[in-house]
């Protein structure tokens, strides 16, 4: 079926197969490969995107449900001036190893900091609890989140 959705501020049309997920459409139809396919069960968070402003696992959204909706992916984070502060912080803190989980974690981090600019350690852990990383041990990731929070607060102060 043909669906029309606004992806990263641009209206796009895609042909979603029967039972296809939003993840499948983003990657296979629209060529947005930043969103990763890790588990297709909502367990790993690698496919996290915003759907109408809410963080979701795109593997658990039927593509048809995104019809006439707004999707933002990790590709929308970097601007003309370069990387998003969250992306910068992940690089600087060494929070990226194999990189497969990174887009999902970056998106989840940006979502958290937009809602809560000064999260506690517990709040960070809860916000990232839907994202799995099998390389880093999470310590560097938590460091990156706090670094990004500091930077973003500095920006708005």
């Amino acid at each position: 079926m043909l669906i029309r959705l606004k992806v990263n501020d641009e209206w796009r049309t895609a042909d979603a197969g029967p039972g296809a997920s939003l993840l499948h459409v983003l990657r296979e139809q629209l060529g947005l490969l930043g969103t990763k396919n890790g588990c297709e069960q909502g367990e790993c968070g690698s496919c996290s995107v915003w759907l109408d402003g809410e963080l979701v696992c795109s593997c658990l959204v039927l593509a048809a449900q995104a019809h006439e909706r707004e999707v933002r992916t990790v590709e929308a984070l970097a601007g003309p001036d370069g990387l998003h502060p969250v992306q910068e912080a992940y690089l600087e803190a060494g929070a990226v190893q194999c990189g497969y989980c990174t887009p999902g974690l970056v998106v989840a981090t940006a979502d958290l900091l937009a809602r809560n600019p000064s999260p506690s350690e517990a709040e960070v852990r809860e916000a990232l609890s839907g994202n799995l990383c099998r390389c880093t041990g999470y310590v560097k990731i938590l460091g990156a989140v706090h670094l990004a929070a500091q930077r973003l607060r500095g920006r708005t102060a």
Binding site: E40, Q41, L55, C57, C59, H67, A127, S129, G130
Partner: protein, 302 residues
């Protein structure tokens, strides 16, 4: 697979009556796993996520109505004074899942491990069902949830939501799992004190074919609190033996099995521990001052 995208409840009920085989789904967090893994491909699916009628909650004449499309995230944000419900919602999956998963999905999937279900059971919820032609009916939770992943819904019906009489008194939801997040309960428990009726209500998840209440344990606890004078006086001393015996009685009501997540014996033990703790928390929450749970939990509602 054909996908039906109705814009109103009436339209959805008409479609469901015409296509009773269509699978109704909202957030899709259960359905999509099955589709992605190729476990099933229904011929037709009916998206009820957008229906405004299902996305609301309200309190009318002392009764809370919780629309089937209420997501766990919205419950946490909008209904924090319903402590046990908010706690159960916060223990579902991850933020991403809580943004999509709904109460209606929990009811429709009817997994014995559905996190919101012990809360609905402890609150004596009714499930509101609708079919085409403005016809609705309600079933008490135990007549709706009839077995593992089995409900009493008719093929031409949709779940409108759940409702229950709002009661005053502390309550909690707790669960045992192998990690802190993203976990399916090995055992879960909701306990509510009904201050007005002097009743204790306790429901168990993941330890039976469906959610269970523990009526004998409930009656025991209510009598013991009355015996200690605790209903009238939150500061009255409730002997530790009462908590111990309550835990054992709750465990006796469980009907657990061994499975990949835990043994029956462990689950039964967990029920006793959860029950003991939940009753202690509830009693502490009633106390004024720094020892108690503070105004938020004292004002808790079911």
């Amino acid at each position: 697979m054909d996908i039906l995208l109705p814009r109103t409840l009436d339209e959805a009920l008409g479609l469901k009556s015409k296509h009773p085989e269509a699978i109704a789904f909202a957030g899709g967090t259960d359905l999509m796993v099955e589709l992605n893994l190729g476990r099933r491909l229904p011929r037709m699916a009916l998206d009820i996520y957008r229906l405004p009628e299902l996305r609301q909650w309200y309190i009318q004449d002392g009764t809370l109505f919780l629309g089937a499309g209420m997501t766990y995230s919205r419950i946490i944000r909008e209904l924090p004074e319903f402590t046990a419900l908010a706690q159960a919602s916060r223990s579902v999956g991850s933020p991403q899942i809580r943004n999509r998963g709904t109460i209606g999905g929990n009811l429709g999937t009817a997994s014995p491990a559905g996190d919101a279900l012990p809360v609905l059971a402890a609150c004596d919820a009714e499930v509101v069902l609708a079919r085409d032609g403005d016809r609705t009916r309600t079933l008490p939770w135990h007549r709706f949830l009839v077995g593992p992943k089995k409900t009493a819904i008719e093929p031409d019906e949709l779940i409108l939501g759940a409702r229950w009489h709002v009661t005053r008194g502390p309550g909690s939801f707790s669960k045992v799992g192998r990690r802190n997040a993203m976990v399916i309960a090995i055992a879960s428990l909701c306990l509510v004190l009904d201050e007005d009726r002097h009743a204790v209500r306790v429901a168990l998840g993941s330890v039976g074919p469906t959610v269970l209440r523990a009526p004998e344990a409930e009656a025991f606890a209510a009598d013991a609190l009355a015996g200690a004078g605790a209903w009238g006086d939150p500061a009255a001393h409730v002997p530790p033996q009462v908590l111990e015996a309550f835990g054992e009685r709750v465990a006796a009501a469980a009907r657990p099995i061994d499975d990949i997540r835990g043994t029956a014996a462990y689950r039964r033990h967990a029920c006793a521990v959860l029950a003991r703790r939940a009753l202690r928390w509830a009693l502490e929450d009633r106390l004024p001052g720094p020892g108690g749970g503070g105004p938020a939990s004292r004002g808790a509602r079911c």
